[in-house]
């Protein structure tokens, strides 16, 4: 009992998520900076930024609903942290694993996006309103291919839990290759979900100043930032669990492998961020619906057929 509480609270639960998110944010910023020929921040910069932000004064917009305004950051952070508990970190087994947790994780990860939308809409400010609507528009663009990309491997594995999927592919590593298109789609849609370039139209600084969160300040903004960095960690962990299920059976080695895998995923995402211009929201919609969604559907059909064909 105490062991499982400690697992949730310390490792590989909340504390680990917090620390590791800072590490990944540092990697993200440092590598991004080095790609741009800049020096980049020192290792403690993400933590320093967070502490500074938490200590800042909170300003509430006059015509926003105060309770909603204050609750949204906490709700979105909670949802992301909860989702992390289903990702395998130490070994193949996640802290909590149950049949269907993949779907639960995907839904939990939609909550921050919805919170962004509500936060922007509730701020009653012209930039944040436009940002909010862009957030929602983008969500309609990526949500379908995202779900399909994550569910295709699940169909082939015949399990709806991340741990189950990992176990299935760990036993048959070559099957991972089948899911390659889904893996690419998952990377792109995650980039879009995290509102990172080239899909950062919802928070385009040069157009709408920062989008939905433009009215947020102090610790509420800090929570939203924490949500964003934890979301990056969770997305990387889930992608690593579903698409890169290579395990040795030894907990510590698997943990090291987990670190390598998430680093690799984050590096690819930084590369995407550094090498592309921000595309317009209509171009985002077009790209997701006319390119990624058909590919995702094809992948899903393929996996359904293979499931029958391979006699699994």
């Amino acid at each position: 009992m105490i062991a499982s509480i400690l697992k949730v609270l310390l490792f590989p639960g909340l504390l680990f998520l917090g620390v590791y998110s800072f590490v990944l944010e540092f990697v993200d910023r440092k590598v991004y900076a080095r790609m741009q020929n800049r020096k980049g921040p020192p290792w403690y910069q993400p933590l320093a930024d967070m502490l500074k932000l938490v200590g800042k004064k909170v300003i509430l917009p006059n015509n926003a609903q105060k309770f909603v305004f204050a609750a949204l950051p906490t709700v979105s952070l909670t949802a992301v942290v909860t989702a992390f508990l289903c990702a395998p970190v130490w070994g193949m087994q996640a802290v909590t694993a149950y049949e269907g947790d993949l779907v639960a994780v995907l839904y939990l990860l939609s909550i921050p996006t919805l919170c962004h939308f509500l936060a922007g809409y509730n701020s009653h400010e012209v930039y944040s309103t436009i940002g909010a609507f862009r957030t929602l528009t983008q969500m309609f663009a990526y949500e379908v291919p995202l779900f399909m990309a994550f569910l295709s491997p699940a169909i082939l594995a015949g399990s709806w839990s991340i741990t189950g999927i990992a176990a299935f592919y760990a036993a048959r590593p070559l099957y991972v290759l089948i899911n390659l298109p889904a893996f690419l789609i998952a990377l792109l849609t995650s980039q879009s979900k995290l509102e990172r370039a080239p899909f950062d139209a919802p928070e385009a600084e040069t157009e709408i100043v920062g989008g939905a969160l433009v009215e947020y300040s102090g610790r509420y903004l800090a929570y939203f930032r924490a949500t964003a960095v934890s979301e990056l960690t969770v997305m990387a962990s889930v992608i690593a669990g579903v698409f890169l299920p290579f395990f040795t059976g030894n907990g510590a080695v698997d943990f090291a492998l987990y670190l390598v895998k998430t680093f690799a995923v984050v590096l690819v995402m930084v590369l995407l961020r550094a090498t592309m211009a921000r595309i317009r929201i209509d171009q985002t919609l077009k790209f997701f619906w006319s390119v990624l969604t058909p590919v995702a559907i094809a992948q899903m059909i393929l996996n359904l057929l293979l499931r029958g064909g391979l006699g699994l």
């Binding site: 790609m35 930039y127 436009i130 157009e207 100043v209 211009a277």
Partner: protein, 406 residues
């Protein structure tokens, strides 16, 4: 929050906004994401330079004119000096023309690199922004070596130039040109192959040749519509009489075309610098200029990095001009701005504005007036006293020179 009754949103961009590097105000009426109407309000940078010029002598004016713009300062002084030399009937030494040309082309390089960086930042491509600004440092360092300053080099003077180019400095310039050429070729390659970049730039901010004539657009905006209005070609001046320029035009008529024109112009500038350094004659770099001008008026133009720059000077025979009028290239490109913005998306607004390479201080021709309360800001008199002190240390006492009351 400015929401109207008909559910259309008026989005204020500016006077302070992350996409604007200088204050300017754009009131964008949005229908969804589409720009329905755009009202441009500028004038936040009016500093009264033209009035200031009227109450100072020509030599002092030269330094004010240099500060019309922080980027194309050399283009403004070149124009002003040419107008002065025109009226005074001065024969400028050939070497001075060459040095002006070299500095002018270096300025074009740094201005276009700056633009490329700003434009890529506007479309969220920060990597290119960092790259181009890194390369721009090479040019700025050269300019600092030539004139002692990074932006207001103070190279021009009436009757020639104030600084000579040493042989090893010219070697440095050639060396930097080699480095830059490689990088700019890479950017040219990038501009024609990078999908997201092209997707963001193509087909927006369209100004057809007819529109260009209608709104009197100049510089890369006109050249992107296939209209050759490069003053270095149509009315060659100075060194360009001897070294012809291969004009760059494009027929895309949009922001993408303007990007290509600027990138190709940088390559042309590098070629020109090489030719100028190869052919630069020996000789004096300036002739003595009179303090007073005969009564009369003149109109001169040069090709600044942003386009055609027109200066008008009227003299009444004294050592102070009767009227100085500056038509900076950015000013000419503002007229079609609302037209260019309307019908495109909100996301295109920053890049369309950036695509004319707007220089708000150029347009408004205006040095900010500080309240003088802040002790960090020295007053005019303090600065003068400081200058006198410094000269006294070198054994020169300029304190006896009276300055004209403002």
């Amino acid at each position: 929050m400015s929401e109207r009754n008909d559910h259309k949103v008026v989005l204020p961009i500016g006077p302070q906004h992350p996409s604007l590097k200088e204050p300017g105000s754009f009131k964008i009426t949005l229908d969804g994401e589409k720009v329905e109407r755009a009202v441009v309000e500028i004038g936040y940078n009016h500093r009264g330079i033209e009035k200031a010029c009227e109450s100072r002598n020509y030599t002092q004016d030269l330094y004010i004119i240099e500060r019309v713009c922080g980027i194309c300062s050399h283009a403004h002084t070149s124009c002003f000096c040419q107008a002065f030399e025109d009226m005074a009937g001065l024969e400028v030494p050939r070497r001075a023309y060459y040095i002006r040309g070299i500095v002018g082309e270096l300025e074009r390089l740094h201005s276009h690199l700056l633009w490329l960086g700003v434009a890529s930042h506007e479309i969220g491509f920060d990597t290119l922004f960092m790259y181009t600004w890194r390369d721009r440092e090479l040019v700025l360092d050269l300019l600092a070596q030539i004139g002692g300053n990074r932006v207001n080099y103070g190279v021009n003077t009436f009757g020639g130039v104030r600084r000579d180019l040493e042989a090893d400095l010219m070697q440095d310039i050639l060396h930097v040109c080699d480095q830059l050429e490689e990088k700019i070729k890479y950017y040219a390659d990038l501009a024609t192959t990078e999908t997201t970049l092209i997707a963001r730039l193509k087909g927006i901010g369209v100004l057809t040749p007819e529109d260009v004539r209608h709104f009197s657009a100049v510089g890369p905006v006109a050249r992107a519509a296939g209209i050759l209005d490069d003053i270095r070609v149509v009315e060659p001046y100075g060194v360009y009489k001897e070294i012809p320029v291969n004009a760059v035009t494009d027929d895309h008529c949009d922001v993408y075309g303007r990007t290509l024109v600027r990138v190709k112009e940088m390559l042309e500038s590098i070629r020109l610098i090489r030719v100028m350094i190869r052919e630069i004659p020996e000789g004096p770099i300036s002739v003595r200029a009179p303090r007073k001008l005969p009564a009369g008026e003149t109109l001169r133009r040069v090709e600044a990095p942003r386009g055609e720059n027109i200066h008008y000077i009227r003299s009444n025979g004294s050592d102070m001009p009767d009227r100085v009028r500056v038509r900076a290239p950015s000013e000419a490109n503002w007229h079609g701005m609302s037209y260019m913005l309307e019908g495109f998306q909100l996301a295109d607004v920053p890049i369309i504005i950036a695509a004319i390479d707007p220089c708000y201080s150029c347009t408004d021709r205006a040095v900010s007036l500080s309240s003088g309360r802040d002790e960090q800001i020295a007053s005019w008199d303090q600065l003068r006293l400081f200058g006198i002190e410094q000269y006294k240390k070198n054994g020169i006492d300029p304190g006896s020179i009276a300055i004209r009351p403002f």
